[in-house]
């Protein structure tokens, strides 16, 4: 039915997103750097000057360790959820595989992620502990986060075709997530009985492991890593299946 090149289509959709977003902006790519820096500055001010209970000079970097994976997760999930609606005209007229749209939309956010990772790692090198051998784990951890968001976006984009309120559910969840992911507090402050639950939240698990590696110079906990692998890949598998089922009705419902 459609026998084009998946990678060629994906690349083109991602490039389109990128060009459209930045072509008419004067600061362009710098927004990717500016956003987390502003958030980091505000949080650092509030939690070191107003609530002066934080520990150490590493506080800004610790905040950044959480902001980078969290903001990627939020933006990718939200745009992924809307991706089918945004491309409704194409879906009704061109027999291109529908999975392409949520996938392209998540992947096109990866460029910001890479820039923000560079910012994070740069700050660790200059102001933090510097390089250690456990940095080798970093690509694996980011990769798992991307896999998880891909699965989530497949499910939610498909649901959003049938029930349009889904996008607001996603927006509300993203707001809640800011408080439930340890952004401005550390894991040690979480009461023991909740800690196990936190590890099931993939974004919190990513933050925990990043802090282990970048701030404490320790390898990620095997237990947390295994859990993240399981959760991410089952999410992707489930997303693929659910999407395939729901895709049959896209034409009528878009």
């Amino acid at each position: 039915m459609w026998n084009g090149e998946y990678t060629f289509v994906l690349r083109n959709l991602i490039e389109k997103d990128f060009k459209v977003r930045y072509r008419n902006m004067s600061l362009g790519i710098f927004w990717s750097l500016l956003n987390p820096l502003i958030m980091m500055a505000v949080l650092t001010f509030v939690f070191t000057q107003i609530f002066s209970n934080s520990s150490g000079a590493n506080y800004p970097i610790s905040v950044l360790c959480a902001l980078v994976p969290l903001s990627f997760f939020q933006i990718a999930w939200a745009t992924g959820t809307n991706s089918l609606q945004d491309n409704a005209a194409l879906i009704k007229k061109v027999p291109v595989p529908r999975q392409i749209f949520p996938i392209a939309s998540v992947l096109s956010n990866c460029l910001h992620l890479v820039i923000q990772i560079a910012l994070l790692l740069g700050s660790v090198l200059v102001f933090g502990r510097g390089l250690n051998i456990y940095w080798l784990w970093l690509p694996v951890i980011w990769g798992l986060e991307i896999v998880f968001v891909l699965g989530l976006s497949l499910v939610f984009s498909a649901l959003n075709v049938y029930v349009r309120d889904i996008r607001y559910v996603v927006e509300a969840s993203n707001t809640v997530l800011f408080w439930l992911v340890p952004v401005f507090y550390s894991f040690s402050l979480i009461p023991l009985r909740y800690r196990e639950v936190y590890q099931f939240n993939p974004v919190a698990a990513v933050v925990l492991m990043l802090r282990n590696i970048l701030l404490e110079g320790r390898p990620p906990l095997a237990h947390t890593l295994t859990l993240l692998v399981l959760v991410s890949f089952s999410m992707l598998g489930m997303g693929w299946i659910v999407f395939g089922r729901l895709a049959r009705g896209f034409y009528e419902h878009l």
Binding site: M1, W2, N3, G4, E5, F8, V9, R11, N12, L13, E15, K16, K19, V20, R23, N24, N87, A89, L90, I91, K92, K93, V94, P95, V96, V163, R164, D165, R248, Y251, E252, H253
Partner: protein
């Protein structure tokens, strides 16, 4: 003769959406007590075959189910009951310029569209010059699409679609593209495609176009096939009915 598209007792329905889709509506429907909201059948029990090298026109009033039929043939929609089978590479021109973005330049839009239509990177690069040449938009090709006139945009869209080299061409009422010169060029291109053994399935409201391009036609009314046969006879029946309706 080989069959390239076959519709086997195909029906297609759309959910009838009346009013808001409130949460209550969903809950009621999920628990099944409120009953179904009703369906609208766009196609009812449609069967036909398109053979290799044949060109087939679909005629009928607005809302008769023509676009739904083409959507099913192209594979963007799935039938509710029955089966649609295709053999060969399908090029579906259901709408020109779907996926065009106003902020991208002509050439960027061409490459994106080619990818979506199913061309590989290599094929796209090989054909790009030919497509630009065919479209005749000239140096505008490096300008953003929002600076194009609507005619120029359609020329660009048609050029890439026709150069995607399909074995089965599905076209929905888009041949009124551009000025007289370009329309003539489109017609010649389609003619030569048909002569080279490609199959064509298309919707048109222009009787001369149908007569000029197709030997066979289907008249669709309220989702059902009224007549399937010789193009000029089908047109006569369809137009006769239309005239009768107007006078009564």
């Amino acid at each position: 003769m080989t069959t390239v598209i076959e519709f086997d007792r195909v029906s297609k329905s759309f959910p009838r959406v009346t009013g808001q889709q409130l949460l209550r509506t969903h809950i009621v429907r999920w628990f099944g007590s409120g009953g179904r909201q009703g369906e609208f059948f766009a196609l009812k029990n449609v069967s036909f075959r398109l053979h290799e090298g044949e060109s087939l026109a679909v005629v009928g009033r607005n809302g008769a189910g023509k676009s739904t039929l083409l959507g099913l043939a192209a594979g963007v929609a799935t039938p509710k009951t029955g089966r649609v089978t295709r053999r060969g590479r399908v090029g579906a021109l259901l709408e020109l310029g779907s996926g065009f973005h106003p902020d991208l330049t002509g050439i960027e839009n061409l490459v994106l569209n080619a990818a979506l239509l199913g061309l590989s990177r290599k094929q796209t690069m090989e054909r790009l010059d030919r497509v630009i040449e065919y479209s005749g938009v000239g140096e505008f090709i490096n300008e953003p699409l929002r600076t194009y006139s609507s005619g120029m945009m359609m020329r660009l869209a048609f050029s890439i679609a026709i150069q995607s080299d399909p074995e089965i061409l599905i076209i929905d009422e888009i041949l009124g593209v551009g000025d007289a010169g370009f329309q003539e060029k489109c017609r010649q291109t389609l003619d030569s495609l048909i002569r080279s053994g490609k199959s064509l399935l298309f919707v048109s409201h222009s009787a001369p176009q149908v007569r000029g391009m197709c030997k066979r036609a289907i008249w669709l009314d309220h989702g059902a096939i009224m007549v399937d046969g010789n193009a000029s006879e089908v047109l006569e029946a369809y137009e006769g009915r239309a005239v009768l309706k107007q006078s009564s």
